[in-house]
């Protein structure tokens, strides 16, 4: 293999890895405040892309993306308020089944609204053939958009959780819910906020990636599985580790095309998921002892 091809694969892997990491962070935000894995996380990504494509017919691209992210956030809040907020200590099995049901209903709803056709936003800058050469490697400008927007989102989330009042309140809730409530924090509102945030970041990812990967009513499921794999790989709840794990999975997948038929690309990442679940369910960067004390 020549060095240029190697870097080409590497860049492709990094692009997908970034998206997986963003989806994984969406999982982590909700998991940290509620202890729930939201199986409908991939649907937020799909909705973001779909709504932005539709909105883009009526308004310029930046405001279409803004509208898509806002609408998905509102939907995230609605889902939490209608389906989850009023449940009293639901069992994990019950929550799994409810969020799976939600993902199916959202997906089928999207099918009836948008049909089966494959859509995409236009490239943010340039077209699908324009490329920037960096040291002999050709990179589509959209790749830079994906990596740039995602990095900003991750940094912004970090700032939010560390330096703002609602961010700190959310962290307090995830550390000890009862103690947080004794301090006057509304745990229920924090859960709603976590759904809003995770819907927003998912929708944003859906928008920036749609010119490259396209978006369809059922494209959320695959992303959700990859995102979950990455979240587990990094250690559930740990967003910074998810970024590293996302890059790893993206690159691994990208190079797997080399040795395996493309049809089996998904098999690789799921096999990694199973392997990590069997061997080290606390994740690559997680603490084994802390993990064994957690409740599911």
């Amino acid at each position: 293999m020549n060095i240029e091809l190697f870097f080409q694969y590497l860049v492709a892997g990094l692009t997908y890895g970034t998206i997986y990491a963003i989806v994984a962070i969406g999982f982590n935000i909700i998991y940290n405040t509620t202890g729930i894995i939201n199986f409908a996380q991939g649907e937020f990504v799909m909705l973001g892309g779909m709504i932005a494509v539709t909105m883009n017919k009526f308004m310029p691209l930046p405001s279409a993306i803004l509208a898509a992210v806002t609408l998905t956030m509102i939907l995230g809040a609605l889902i939490e308020i209608v389906f989850i907020r009023w449940l009293v200590k639901p069992s994990v099995l019950r929550m799994i089944i409810i969020t799976i049901g939600l993902s199916i209903v959202i997906r089928e709803g999207a099918l009836h609204i948008w049909g089966e056709s494959v859509r995409a936003l236009p490239y943010f800058t340039g077209t699908e053939v324009s490329s920037i050469a960096i040291g002999g490697v050709f990179i589509s400008p959209q790749v830079l958009w994906v990596i740039g927007v995602s990095s900003i989102a991750v940094v912004a989330l970090n700032l939010f959780f560390n330096y703002t009042l609602p961010g700190r309140q959310m962290r307090a809730c995830s550390a000890n819910r009862d103690a947080a409530r004794l301090c006057g924090i509304s745990a229920k509102n924090m859960v709603t906020l976590s759904f809003v945030l995770s819907a927003g970041i998912g929708a944003l990812a859906g928008c920036v990636v749609s010119p490259i990967t396209y978006v369809q009513y059922d494209s959320g499921t695959g992303l959700a599985i990859k995102g979950f794999t990455v979240a587990i790989l990094g250690g559930l709840g740990n967003s910074m580790a998810a970024v590293a794990a996302g890059m790893m999975l993206g690159i691994l997948e990208s190079f797997s095309i080399w040795v395996m038929p493309t049809a089996y690309k998904d098999v690789i990442s799921i096999a990694i998921l199973l392997l990590i679940l069997f061997v080290r369910p606390s994740g690559l960067f997680g603490n084994k002892e802390a993990f064994s004390l957690k409740e599911f």
Binding site: I37, P90, G101, I104, R107, H112, I270, L274, L277, F278
Partner: protein, 359 residues
Amino acid sequence: MNFHKYLPIAALISAVIAIQLLTYFTGSAYMLTQLTMSAYYSLVIIGLCILMGYAGQISLGHAGFFAIGGYISAFLTTCNLLPYRSHSLVSLFSKAGLLNMSEDLYGGQALHFHPWAACVMAVLFTIIAAYCIGGPVLKLKGHYLAMATLGFGIIVYRIVLGTSFFGAADGLSDVPSFVIFPGLEVSGKSSVRIQNYYIASGLVIAGVIILLNLINSRIGRALRAIHGAEDAAGAMGVNTAKYKLHTFVLSAVFASIAGVLLTHYNGGIGPSEASVMKSVRYVAIVAIGGMANLWGALLMGFLLNFLSLRGYFGSFDDAVFGSILIIIMLFAPEGLLHKNSFRGIKKIFSHTTKEEGQA
């Protein structure tokens, strides 16, 4: 060992016969086709019910086991071994009587596995696969278990979709009929429709009898203890890992047998049978039936699959199952047919619930 124990089974048998007579007298015998298919799906569902309701382990990969059964059996009964007949392995199979010579429409000859041999191999392979997957998977709990079984289901789906000798997106077709013994065959021909309805229903009844005995035995009590509190069950000397694994394998075998027979009945199998949506549908039906309620799962399995196969839900098929899942889990997590909700009806089948209450 009293008379009451067999009352529900007798009721089930009479219901099966009554439905057949009803379709006969109303001139809607064509509905038996969908009823037969529903019966096979119900077989998957009662198997899953034991795993989910009694052992308390979710599986989002049961369509995978169904597909393993269906695909292996379809592959072995349709692949032509004639070009390889001189190969030592093929002649060994031939000597063992596992192979079957058949003639196609144009007089061309084909050599393939006898459906019985294919069925046994499919089930054996399922058992091996279930042991290999179940061993590590069942150590997990909650979300991890759900995702791991989902992952297994997706791997099976991707493999059948991406592999050319499994027909890729087209699936396998022209699967011959399964002659169980002369005069009794599983096939989609309309001349043997009634016969097939009884084969499928008989299999379901047999499955129910096996599972009822299991539930009310030492194993069943151990499973319920695991569901209630796994650590406590372990402390009382229940080998939790062993019981969970064996239940997992048993329910996989149920799914696999259903897959084998439905494939012969339909004359083919496609990748959609392995899809995640199918697995979710099985879970949905078990949940509606009330998790630890074999009769509820059986009734709902028959009813919802029949309605779905008859096309009553139209293009909202998946959406209906998704909505049912949400509504049931929000408002009636114990299922529609819970002890308190239909006490009157349940009295007829009281022996199972009574023992449940005491356990």
